[in-house]
């Protein structure tokens, strides 16, 4: 891991030196070879292209492959620039640390829109250039000064059909009703979605959630604490359901599909009152590729890229022009599909950006 990071930094430095003429082509190619980089561009002897790329900071795994095929290929075709990845996970603290250290190695982070609200005003992000990126190609309110929502993910829940055969749970009120629906539940550990679900279960309307009434939400969370487990990652949430540890689980809706498949339909996804979360692209201040990254973001907004991300990662389009083109087999799982769009609620990134830190701590304190 450390070595990978070191290689990456060495190569980035090398590429810059090469571009500025401080390093000759032969040395740069040798460097690429030594660090095991076998870019097609380098193989072809076109080191210029290797030095000219955008680095995407994401969570790795499948998303590396999917971001490459859904956005990277089109971006390379139109600009001639490549796409590289840093897969160490752009948590807010890591972005802040990277910018503060002055050694910015990523151009665009696959983050949450609320990160744009909390990190933007403190000088850790580049503003989005809306002459290149379009405000109309995302949902209203999700194109902010320091970040733009490119995909949506959602907090929905799955339930065990064998536990609640004839009378399945249909909304968050049922999810929090342990008398009518006995069994263990799992909720997201870092408060997002869990707080909103608790409020909706307590009778707050989906469009009147913000500002969140923390006391009320936490009281509801605590009321089912004895019957709850909390997950910190998608795979953990997944295994809690598949291994039969819970009979109902809050889940990212693309994970919900995997759980349905892995349990041969024993678990079923409920999208009613699911919360749409704006996943956003944000740009660390002083990013190495400069303004070129805006074209990358613009590419990701296009309908083909949006649909490809849905197909590959299960991330729902945020560009309204793509809503109508969501294919039939994705209708149940895409949060903005015609089938779901009237049933969902929307996350408020402004509230989370301003109050998220305190909310997460209050939540952790309530569940521990």
């Amino acid at each position: 891991m450390q070595d990978k990071q070191f290689m990456k930094e060495m190569l980035t430095d090398g590429a810059h030196a090469y571009k500025e003429g401080r390093m000759d082509r032969r040395t740069f190619l040798a460097l690429c070879g030594a660090s095991g980089v076998a870019l097609s561009a380098v193989m072809a002897g076109d080191a210029e292209a290797a030095a000219d790329h955008v680095v995407m900071w994401n969570w790795g795994g499948q998303s590396e492959e999917c971001h490459g095929s859904a956005i990277g290929d089109a971006f390379t075709a139109s600009t001639g620039k490549g796409l590289k990845f840093d897969t160490s996970g752009p948590l807010e603290g890591k972005i802040k640390e990277m910018v503060d250290s002055g050694n910015v190695t990523a151009d665009v982070a696959d983050a949450d829109l609320f990160n744009a609200v909390s990190l933007g005003p403190t000088g850790h992000l580049e503003p989005i250039d809306y002459s290149v990126v379009s405000k109309d190609k995302t949902l209203p309110g999700y194109a902010l000064e320091y970040g733009v929502s490119v995909i949506l993910y959602g907090y929905a829940f799955v339930y065990d059909t064998e536990a609640y055969g004839d009378n399945p749970p249909q909304n968050w009120a049922d999810f929090f009703d342990t008398a009518k629906f006995p069994g263990m539940r799992s909720l997201y550990k870092w408060a997002n979605g869990s707080l909103e679900a608790a409020l909706m279960a307590d009778g707050v309307a989906g469009d009147a959630l913000y500002p969140l009434d923390m006391d009320r939400a936490l009281a509801k969370i605590k009321s089912i604490k004895e019957d709850s487990l909390y997950w910190g990652s998608g795979s953990e949430a997944h295994s809690m359901c598949v291994n039969g540890e819970v009979t109902m689980g809050m889940i990212w809706q693309n994970r919900g599909r995997n759980i349905e498949n892995d349990t041969d339909g024993r678990f079923k996804l409920v999208n009613n009152q699911a919360m749409a979360m704006p996943g956003a692209y944000i740009v660390p201040k002083g990013n190495p590729a400069g303004a070129a990254v805006m074209q990358f973001i613009a590419t990701a907004q296009e309908v083909p890229a949006q649909l490809a991300l849905l197909d590959c990662l299960g991330m729902t389009p945020s560009n309204p022009a793509a809503f109508g083109e969501i294919p039939e087999d994705q209708q149940d799982y895409a949060i903005t599909s015609a089938k779901n769009i009237d049933k969902i609620v929307y996350n408020d990134p402004e509230w989370w950006g301003e109050n998220g830190g305190d909310a997460v701590n209050a939540f952790l304190e309530a569940i521990s």
């Binding site: 948590l91 807010e92 603290g93 890591k94 802040k96 909390s118 550990k189 870092w190 604490k225 487990l229 909390y230 997950w231 910190g232 953990e236 295994s239 291994n243 039969g244 540890e245 998220g356 830190g357 305190d358 997460v360 701590n361 952790l364 304190e365 569940i367 521990s368």
Partner: protein, 282 residues
């Protein structure tokens, strides 16, 4: 005194580069953390004052200390019997035991943590077997609670407890015990009055090692605690990465550091710590 200084002087020159490295790469960041704890978000002792204001922080610290104490007690007790058995069995069996011990020592903490879930989870091997043979009607909640965290941590810590004890027991002069029984002491008397006191340095070393390492546990409580067992390491990580309250994180880290130093200081009142860390007992 003069001879001592003459003796030490060139040595300092040789270790000077190392000393500089340690100061630059180790002491520097630590001072930075301490500095952060009194400057972020604003100068003063506001972060430390939070300890008095917030029950939650105290509860997290108490959970951490409680779990660490229980873990240490069990790991060291179990470790002591394992080490004792290893020293007193045949060489062949000792080698088997040492191999098993080292294998579990080398297996990644993640693998060991998730193995416990497979064994003791709700639908794990143990629960399913017990249900199949009709001993229990409902699965026993071994995991996803504090009990689960303790199982995982004690299991992980036993090799750390055994190794210092093993060294200390192997260094004992067996003739002392022979002399004791020769003078008419029973086996129990020899153990309590001769063997145990002579292995105290090893006992203290493994207690310290296990307790200090336990304080920093992150993965095991996060996975086996089901989100409900919040220990200080995980809380610090959340403050650094998610909520950006670096001052709180630094304050808790500083507290841990001073806690450990204070513990070592108190120990040093009662015994020579150098014997614990392998020095001569003079």
């Amino acid at each position: 005194m003069h001879a001592l200084r003459k003796h030490i002087h060139p040595g300092w020159l040789i270790i000077a580069p190392l000393l500089v490295l340690v100061v630059a790469l180790y002491l520097g960041p630590i001072l930075n953390i301490l500095w952060l704890s009194v400057t972020d978000p604003e100068p003063g002792f506001g972060n430390y004052a939070k300890l008095g204001e917030s029950d939650a922080l105290l509860r997290i610290l108490w959970t951490t200390v409680r779990i660490c104490i229980i873990t240490t007690m069990f790991s060291v007790t179990l470790g002591y019997s394992i080490a004792y058995a290893m020293v007193h069995c045949h060489q062949r069996q000792k080698n088997y035991m040492l191999t098993l011990l080292l294998v579990s020592f080398w297996i990644s903490i993640l693998v060991r943590t998730f193995s416990w879930l497979m064994l003791l989870g709700r639908k794990g091997l143990v629960n399913v077997t017990l249900e199949d043979i009709g001993l229990i009607a409902e699965p026993i909640a071994f995991m996803r609670n504090e009990f689960g965290v303790l199982i995982g941590m004690i299991h992980y810590m036993i090799p750390y407890a055994v190794l210092p004890l093993l060294v200390s027991m192997q260094a004992l002069d067996k003739r002392v015990m022979d002399a004791s029984s020769n003078l008419g002491a029973t086996g129990a008397q020899t153990f309590w009055r001769i063997y145990l006191p002579l292995t105290t340095p090893g006992l203290v070393a493994s207690t310290l090692l296990v307790f200090i390492l336990s304080l920093g546990f992150y993965v095991t409580p996060a996975v086996l605690g089901g989100g409900k067992v919040l220990m200080v390491a995980e809380y610090i990580s959340v403050q650094l990465l998610v909520t950006l309250k670096w001052g709180t994180a630094a304050m808790l880290a500083a507290l841990m550091l001073f806690g450990v130093l204070a513990m070592l200081w108190i120990m040093s009142r009662f015994m020579k710590l150098s014997t614990v860390f392998g020095g001569a007992a003079r």
